[in-house]
Symmetry: C2
Subunit: 565 residues, 2 copies
């Protein structure tokens, strides 16, 4: 085999934007040609973006894509470089499901096609609904070589009876190409490389892995394309979270070559931070929001979201609003102001006390008029929620008035426990840290401060509080976050039952503080009941950026559910 | 074959409620025994309810079910009747997917089992995610007969390569049993009977079809179990939307017997009305809400929802609140009051003018203080939404204060067009008519009035208006509903593209009014853009009772989507 110059086009497409995506693809093809590449490779579904869900079954959507594909084909007529890209192919039956397809284009002609065989249908993937699986793995004849084509799941074959790679190896593929749209979660880089390297070594075939980059609603794609040789050694890596065209020269005859170092950020707070930046940036850009607004409570969650937004969009695009209420501490809006000043964002203090009391007074008058008793001297759930909702109302007014996207600031621990108010702090267009546990929020905040201290130390050190009643602390209603997050992780990510969680926590080395009131078994049972019972709130959230392997988006639970886990 | 006395247990289970469901199953088995039944048949997943989604993959959930199954088995030890029921079976691999299973229990012993082979994975069904398919169709030997077991989709085999019925016929099944959890949509009764009768006649086997009844979040199961003989003639029908134990005596040797008449309500407004009643009743009962609250605008949508709620829960459980705003007509709350009086529900008038103006005044003061210009003399989108949200805030306060579920009143046409306000009229726990087009709302309202006039004629006859600015009418912003609903139906239910819709509407006999401004093609394009653009609002709705074949719940569209259909 001769030497190959690969151009890895780690694309950030926009779902449904055929003209835009095709334009980007054409520009990258020309750039690759200019730089002497032999093969320029785009990710799975590069032409239409991923995932397209039900769009895949619209005839007009598929046909429109084919038109743009044809335009790309014609444009390569005078070029030497071969281009490979993913698109939605027409299905075998009219009115039936479509295909998840790959095409090879050279000198104005289609020289190879392939349809994805293994269709992931679990968690955030529902490809069986939209696509008809391919049945064959033809080799692509290219420049005297036989290339084995695969799309994403095709190489993650452990849970499938079919093994596309085995077939390709048997037929004598010289090397394997995989185009993917593989979304990010903390730890995915290690899992992915381990799998691809293992498969390369098992079948003794080099694998070029090309992944999409970018944010699409809840999902964040991290790119991180790479090449590993037939011994499973990584010789090339494209960066994480960055769109671009990256070159790699491969000499198949070369006996040994130094492996390139791994990504030092993989699995760290730095990595999660980068992922969230991309998620915010792409959601805003692709939905044409230039500016955002965030309610700043002085607490750690909203501080982190504001820092992320300022880093993602620039401080000029961010407005922070402190809305102190009747039970807010003075420190709360001072911390918010310090944060805003540190970040250089627009900041206003809009107290809610007057608004809240005007509404509450009217409600109680109405109630008395109806001859119903009004609670005296205590703060009810209705009153707590009203405070949160007066804030939500104000943020939404600002959103409509100034054309700003509201970023919500709830974390995964709160969403799990329902420690949040529908239409109150849950109101907004994008839930930035809804898949980040509270203990991880602290780690991300400290990481951000390590780059330049913007989040006030006070927000990091004071005990978390919703400040909806005098002297309220989160830990009055919730177990300490260190314990809560561990229970939640075992319940949500690991899918453990009550007894398994208790056992696992007792077995593990972490010391369960004696301050868990009522004993661990009781606490675990209560947490699980809270999680289940609050499914109705999570059904009404905006998209939640996904950074864990089991985010809310891929977890399907009934609201009506009497099971006591 | 000898005569059989079937007891068809058309059960309404609650998801996750093993003790409750098992108790009901045991009571029905004993009742069937007492009444001399040979076979008592429960629906698919009767033991755990359907759908259970991710619960199916919790080990503890599966094991808990097996315990209750064992309890049922032991309880049948002294009985003559054989019981058949559906449950979640353990999967073949530890940590892998579960099974959708059926069990035959006789005299304290398990005498037959079967695992569902065809797993529906489209629209509201995602069984491939949760279940491992069965591979075999064993015959069940029972009382000298060979019975062919099937579960729901197994007989809907058109789009599958495998045909379980063909195998059962080949093996010599004497008759076929199908247990289902088949949800309602308008027209399902006809579709279902046609399919089952066609299959019975094709394979010359009688089929007993037993379906679940009841509401589960968005889904409503209509029951309507039936029996058809080997010529496809229907000899028995259980009622729609009613839980119960129904008996049918079958003599396989009997040559002919009169068919029973079809359901006169099938596909009518009466049927949809019944479906919605069950949806409301079960959502409230299963989630322990005894009372509801509804915002009454004087318009047709909220009037219909109030009538449904009063009919479903009793007038004593329903509170209506009229919240006239600065641009509400006087007629609006008078119509609401008349409605409430006709229904006999609790009713209050809580004007929002003062609350709205207090908040708006504060917002504008804040804005001026920040040196930003305040719009003068016009009503902006922010101001319209604020009115709707002040109402939402008040309903949620009442919800929290009195423990009432808020029923939302938006219809499918509005949800499609985004002609609704997040956290305003969209705020609530259950969207009762979110899958009912506006033109159908009128039909349902007229149907309800035909049983006893409760909805004021004025609500039926006045032009629809959101009343958020002076003189506003829906038809200022939207095409006439007759036209809009036709476009939406073709786009959402039929999945047509723009050109196909225009062609279809021109071809069809209905006259396109010349009053469609800007020509049909333009109107269709604008409607489609609105539907696509408002996906973000629909992502934040409460469960929407499903009465159409393509409801929002089974329609998966990206929010970020630049495709121009």
């Amino acid at each position: 085999m001769k030497k190959i110059r690969f151009a890895v086009a780690q694309l950030d497409p926009t779902v449904g934007d055929y003209p835009g995506n095709a334009g980007k693809i054409l520009a990258r093809i020309r750039e690759a040609e200019k730089n002497g590449a032999d093969l320029v490779v785009f990710p799975e579904m590069a032409l239409c973006g991923y995932p397209v869900w039900d769009l895949a079954n619209k005839k007009i959507f598929v046909r429109e894509g084919l038109k743009h594909l044809d335009r790309i084909r014609r444009a390569t007529a005078g070029l030497k470089v071969t281009a490979v890209l993913g698109f939605v192919g027409e299905g075998p039956r009219p009115g039936g499901r479509s295909r998840n397809s790959m095409v090879w284009i050279s000198r104005g002609r289609i020289v190879g096609t392939y349809d994805k065989r293994l269709l992931p249908t679990y968690d955030v993937f529902l490809e069986d609904i939209f696509f008809e699986p391919g049945r064959k793995s033809p080799l692509i004849a290219w420049q005297g070589m036989r290339v084995g084509p695969t799309i994403c799941e095709d190489i993650w074959d452990e849970n499938y009876a079919e093994k596309p790679l085995a077939g390709l190896a048997r037929k004598g593929a010289d090397w394997v190409l995989n185009i993917s749209a593989s979304p990010y979660y903390r730890g995915v880089a290690q899992t992915r490389e381990k799998l691809v390297r293992m498969q390369a070594a098992r079948y003794r075939r080099a694998i070029l892995y090309v992944n999409q980059v970018g944010g699409q609603d809840d999902l964040i794609f991290d790119g991180r394309s790479f090449f590993c040789d037939s011994r499973g050694e990584v010789l090339f890596r494209a960066p994480a979270f960055r769109e671009g065209l990256y070159y790699f020269d491969w000499d198949p005859e070369e006996k040994s070559r130094p492996q390139v170092p791994g990504d030092p950020d993989a699995g760290t707070a730095a990595e999660v931070y980068q992922a969230l930046l991309l998620g915010i940036r792409d959601y805003c850009a692709k939905n044409h929001f230039k500016r955002v607004v965030i309610g700043l409570s002085g607490g750690i969650d909203s501080a982190l979201v504001a820092a992320l937004a300022a880093d993602a969009l620039g401080p000029g695009a961010v407005m922070g609003i402190a809305m102190p209420g009747p039970y807010s501490s003075k420190g709360s809006w001072e911390d918010a102001r310090t944060l805003a000043r540190n970040l250089g964002i627009e900041f206003h203090v809009h107290p809610i006390r007057g608004k809240y009391q005007a509404l509450l007074g009217a409600y109680w008058r109405q109630k008395r008029k109806a001859g119903k008793p009004v609670p005296a001297g205590r703060i009810t759930l209705a009153m707590e929620n009203l405070q949160a909702r007066v804030r939500g109302l104000e943020l939404m007014f600002l959103s409509n008035d100034e054309g700003r996207l509201v970023l919500t600031t709830g974390n995964k621990s709160e969403l799990a426990m329902g420690y949040c108010t529908l239409y109150g702090d849950m109101a907004g267009g994008l839930a930035v840290i809804g898949d980040v546990y509270k203990t991880e929020v602290y780690r991300l905040a400290r990481y951000r401060n390590s780059l330049g201290a913007v989040i006030p130390e006070n927000s990091l050190s004071k005990p978390p509080s919703a400040e909806l009643r005098p002297g309220q602390k989160d830990e009055d209603s919730l177990p300490p976050y260190e314990i809560l997050d561990r229970i939640l992780y075992l319940y949500i990510e690991k899918n453990y039952g009550r007894d398994e969680i208790v056992e696992e926590m007792k077995r593990s080395r972490e010391k369960i503080k004696t301050s868990v009131r009522g004993g661990l078994a009781r606490v675990v049972a209560r947490v699980i009941r809270c999680v289940d019972h609050n499914e109705y709130k999570r059904r009404q959230t905006p998209p939640i950026l996904r950074v864990s392997q089991k985010a809310w988006f891929g977890r399907r639970m009934p609201i009506t559910n009497l099971f006591d886990a």
